[in-house]
């Protein structure tokens, strides 16, 4: 039932808005609204019930194992939320003077410094509000760098075919042409293809490492040499930083600009699709172009770095300072982890992934890159199963929902047929992983004995398989009264 269907004309929550009628008004008649606003008229209790019940129709990290590849669904510590929501932090206006926000600015400054240290970059800006915006900002800096050198011929960005869809979309949004390069049979970027692709038109290469195939790009140093020799810059998509945090720094791998998904590696909540937060880090030569605002420390005082300090900056990409509250949560998380905790993230994320890969292989699943170590994630392919039984990766994913597990990422990366990209974050226990393997074995057996039942999954969710085609052909995108 929609919230609108609970609505009754004239029902009103008296405590939630001003009680006395406003004493004056000076809004010209011709600017006053005449149509009704279709917000629901529901009691506070019915509102609380409605949304509490809706929440119960969601899978979440707090309720289910969520082995969603490339998304790093780790536990979101509750302290990060409650301390970021201290009333003084919540009530601070973004344009309040710097001297009324020294406590907040100190957190932001320290977060910048810690992120610099763990990534090996020379500067960090916290403003990007999501991974894709971090990418956009990163590629904008690449363009600004070339143009500042009077080089306007670099019109191409190279992207491996296994990359996230945001990479090519970002390059285009920045006005670049995308050159896709292939992956070899072991999951590495094809070096010969890269060498053939680079040239005077190359602005840069966007790379995720470990890649979305769940393996470390062994040739990263050579790739860096090839791209730099051609005059291009290297962009690091930090989507998979959780796999190497504390082990390898993107700066040491030769990257010139990076983004870090705080909602993955630094455990800020995914929130049902956002807000994200994706600080960018840059090497020395890109420092002049870094987006503002950033926080500077002078003596014991913190202040905003603005256009005046950074005349070559690519500018502002959010109305204020990005997703400030998300940044606070990440800050609290890194302080809770500390130095030791920071090293252990990648160790245990990698241990969990390799263990799960080993156990699933023993259970009879085909691993896409069997001769490689898993990074913090790995790929299972159901190509043979589909050929034999018609059961697809999507069918298996939906059947997992019935067993109380969120599905792994399906059909991404696009180059492995019938794939499941599985990422068990470091916060999951061995028992959880073992129970997941047991369920996967059960499904294998079900595929053999009752494939049609598996094809019809899910069976125990609030709804069965939904009609996507109808949704797109006859779009019903908003409730209308009387409709």
């Amino acid at each position: 039932m929609l919230i609108f269907e609970h609505s009754r004309p004239g029902r009103f929550n008296y405590s939630q808005s001003p009680t006395k009628p406003a004493s004056k008004s000076a809004i010209p008649q011709n600017l006053q609204r005449k149509s009704k606003v279709l917000l629901p008229e529901v009691s506070e209790m019915d509102t609380v019930r409605h949304f509490t019940r809706l929440s119960q129709k969601n899978f979440s990290i707090d309720t289910e194992f969520y082995p969603l590849g490339s998304c790093t669904m780790k536990y979101n510590p509750r302290a990060c939320n409650s301390l970021a929501m201290l009333p003084q932090f919540l009530s601070r206006h973004p344009l309040a003077p710097e001297d009324t926000g020294q406590g907040y600015l100190a957190c932001m400054y320290e977060l910048q410094e810690i992120l610099k240290s763990v990534t090996g970059m020379a500067g960090v800006s916290l403003t990007p509000m999501a991974g894709a915006q971090g990418e956009l900002i990163g590629v904008m800096m690449i363009r600004a760098y070339h143009e500042s050198r009077g080089d306007f011929e670099r019109t191409e960005i190279i992207v491996p075919d296994a990359a996230h869809g945001t990479n090519p979309a970002t390059a285009v949004m920045c006005g670049f042409k995308v050159v896709e390069i292939a992956t070899d049979k072991d999951g590495n970027v094809d070096l010969d293809a890269l060498k053939a692709a680079v040239g005077p038109k190359t602005a840069g290469l966007m790379l995720t490492n470990p890649s979305t195939l769940g393996v470390f790009e062994k040739n990263v140093a050579e790739m860096s040499r090839v791209v730099h020799q051609a005059g291009g810059l290297l962009y690091y998509d930090g989507a998979n930083l959780n796999a190497v945090l504390g082990k390898v720094k993107p700066g040491d791998m030769g990257f010139d600009v990076i983004h870090i998904n705080l909602h993955k590696t630094f455990s800020t909540p995914h929130g049902g699709g956002g807000p994200g937060s994706a600080p960018v880090g840059v090497a020395e030569r890109l420092l002049p172009f870094i987006p503002i605002p950033i926080v500077a420390k002078e003596g014991e005082t913190y202040r905003w770095v603005t256009e005046k300090d950074k005349p070559q900056s690519i500018g502002r990409l959010s109305a204020h300072m990005g997703n400030a509250g998300v940044l606070l949560r990440a800050y609290i998380y890194v302080r809770l982890l500390g130095l030791d905790g920071m090293h252990r993230i990648s160790e245990f994320a990698t241990l969990n992934a390799n263990y799960l890969m080993a156990e699933l292989r023993k259970a009879g699943f085909e691993i896409a890159y069997p001769n490689r170590r898993a990074s913090h994630e790995f790929i299972v392919t159901l190509k043979d199963i589909k050929d034999k039984t018609g059961v697809t990766a999507m069918n298996l994913a939906k059947r997992l929902l019935d067993k109380g597990y969120h599905a792994p990422t399906t059909y991404f990366p696009l180059l492995v047929p019938e794939c499941l990209l599985i990422e068990p974050a470091e916060t999951e226990s061995k028992e959880t992983l073992d129970a997941f393997v047991t369920s996967m074995k059960e499904i294998l057996q079900e595929i053999e004995e009752q494939p049609d039942m598996v094809k019809g999954a899910p069976h125990t969710m609030p709804v069965r398989k939904l009609d996507d085609v109808k949704a797109a052909r006859e779009p019903d995108l908003a409730w209308k009264q009387g409709a």
Partner: protein, 450 residues
């Protein structure tokens, strides 16, 4: 180890299953020379008790102020239920609802959000939100250029939030789109439709129309919308959602209505929190929906004919279309929209109208008190909503400093962005201010000017 549950026995058994001796061995595909040594610059870990103490100290250091700053972020009462429900783990720690059957909670909520925003803006459809108001405007500009097909020019009045203009420029310039700024009338604080009629602007894809504008002044939206349409261009409204409970919504501007409406969603239940996370909203006419960026939720049916909700029209998006997508955006501000939807449900149409009306009344009242003083004048003659510009006889920075010493953040200094206005302050009093708050402010201002 923080947030890692493994016992020694677990580690041993897991390594045995993998066939590795140590965890180190699992990193043996990484070239040795790339392995970094000990990290520097990361302090030792804190316990939850220790970090609580640190954060409490920093929060206390920042303290509380009586806030009269608006300028794009507005303080409103947020009912307790809003964030208690929003931070339930099932909303807080869920992912993007790609697995529809396991995400009906988030999907239905987003559909309800889209319905509310479509009605509030008077448009046909809304997406599931953008990063913030500034980027929503930039995306609207890109959308208008994609849809217009012949022109790559956007007209933006200088009465649009200055940072929004900066963000739009930064984003659209990548695609060789020209941004032309339109001057405003320094007496009324508005864009004069007559000045446009007499201008030589012919070839442009869209006109941006703020309501209320950055000065808090109400623009003549009907005439502006009709003028844009007469030039075969789109009209993009940038609106404050609170005010739409009282003001004509963009979908009803002029004879045909604006084509796209965007804005900052923060006033709908999102705390100020130093500028984020907020959310941008975007709504449009049906004809433009396939050019809209971002996530969109649709209502459909399942195998049994039961109602359900899915992400739809995904052929626009980057994870399907890659380089041919309408935008590179992947996220919506899901959790913020969750809060906004609960907020709008709790206050309802009457509550939102009261919030808007009281904020308007408080600002009028404050201004009436202030302009009685020598040295305070209304900067503009145009009608205002819940924010207004005042010209002071003394430097604004000095006045604001004096107010700050009394615990009052007195407003936003317009001089930095609009030097032509001289000593001008932008002040906002929402429904959160009581009569005595307004009197205190007035008294403090009188003393500061004294």
């Amino acid at each position: 180890m923080p947030f890692i549950p493994h016992t020694k026995e677990d580690i041993a058994e897991m390594l045995a299953s993998i066939g590795a001796k140590t965890i180190e061995e699992l990193f043996d595909e990484i070239p040795k020379e790339l392995i970094s040594g000990e990290l520097t610059g990361v302090p030792p870990g804190l316990s939850e008790m220790e970090i609580t103490r640190l954060m409490m100290a920093r929060a206390t250091q920042d303290g509380f102020y009586q806030n009269f700053i608006g300028a794009g972020a507005y303080e409103h009462h947020i009912p307790a239920a809003v964030w208690q429900i929003t931070t339930r783990g099932e909303f807080y720690s869920s992912y993007t609802p790609y697995q529809a059957e396991a995400s009906q909670g988030t999907l239905q909520l987003l559909y309800e959000y889209q319905s509310m925003m479509a009605s509030l803006t008077g448009m046909d459809v809304s997406n599931a939100s953008m990063y913030d108001g500034a980027t929503a405007l930039a995306e609207a500009a890109l959308m208008a250029v994609r849809s217009h097909k012949t022109s790559r020019r956007i007209l933006i009045p200088q009465t649009v939030h200055p940072v929004y203009r900066q963000v739009v420029r930064a984003i659209v310039s990548n695609q060789k789109i020209e941004v032309v700024e339109l001057p405003y009338c320094t007496e009324c604080g508005q864009i004069l439709p007559e000045s446009l009629v007499n201008s030589n602007h012919e070839d442009f894809a869209a006109l941006v129309i703020p309501q209320p504008n950055f000065f808090g002044v109400l623009e003549q939206v009907d005439a502006l919308t009709d003028w844009a349409h007469s030039k075969n261009a789109f009209a993009i409204g940038v609106v404050n959602p609170t005010t739409l409970a009282v003001l004509t919504p963009p979908g009803e501007w002029g004879s045909k209505g604006a084509d796209i409406a965007v804005g900052e969603g923060q006033p709908l239940g999102i705390p100020l929190s130093s500028g984020g996370p907020y959310f941008g909203f975007m709504a449009c006419k049906n004809e433009l929906v396939r050019q809209m960026p971002g996530r969109i939720i649709g209502r459909t049916t399942d195998l049994d004919g039961k109602e359900g909700f899915v992400l739809t029209l995904q052929a626009r998006e980057q994870h399907i279309r890659r380089s041919k997508a309408t935008s590179n955006i992947c996220t919506n501000q899901g959790l913020m929209v969750t809060a906004a939807t609960i907020f709008m449900s709790l206050v309802g149409p009457e509550g939102l109208r009261r919030v808007a009306a009281q904020s308007h009344a408080n600002t009028l009242e404050l201004v009436e008190q202030l302009v009685k003083f020598k040295g305070v004048e209304r900067t503009f003659s145009g009608p205002v909503f819940h924010e207004t510009a005042l010209t002071l006889s003394k430097p604004v920075a000095d006045v604001l400093n004096k107010l700050k010493q009394k615990g009052i953040l007195g407003g936003y200094n317009l001089q930095g962005q609009y030097p032509e206005l001289g000593n001008t302050l932008l002040v906002c009093a929402t429904e959160t201010k009581t009569e005595s708050d307004l009197r205190n402010y007035a008294t403090a201002m009188q003393q500061a000017l004294g």
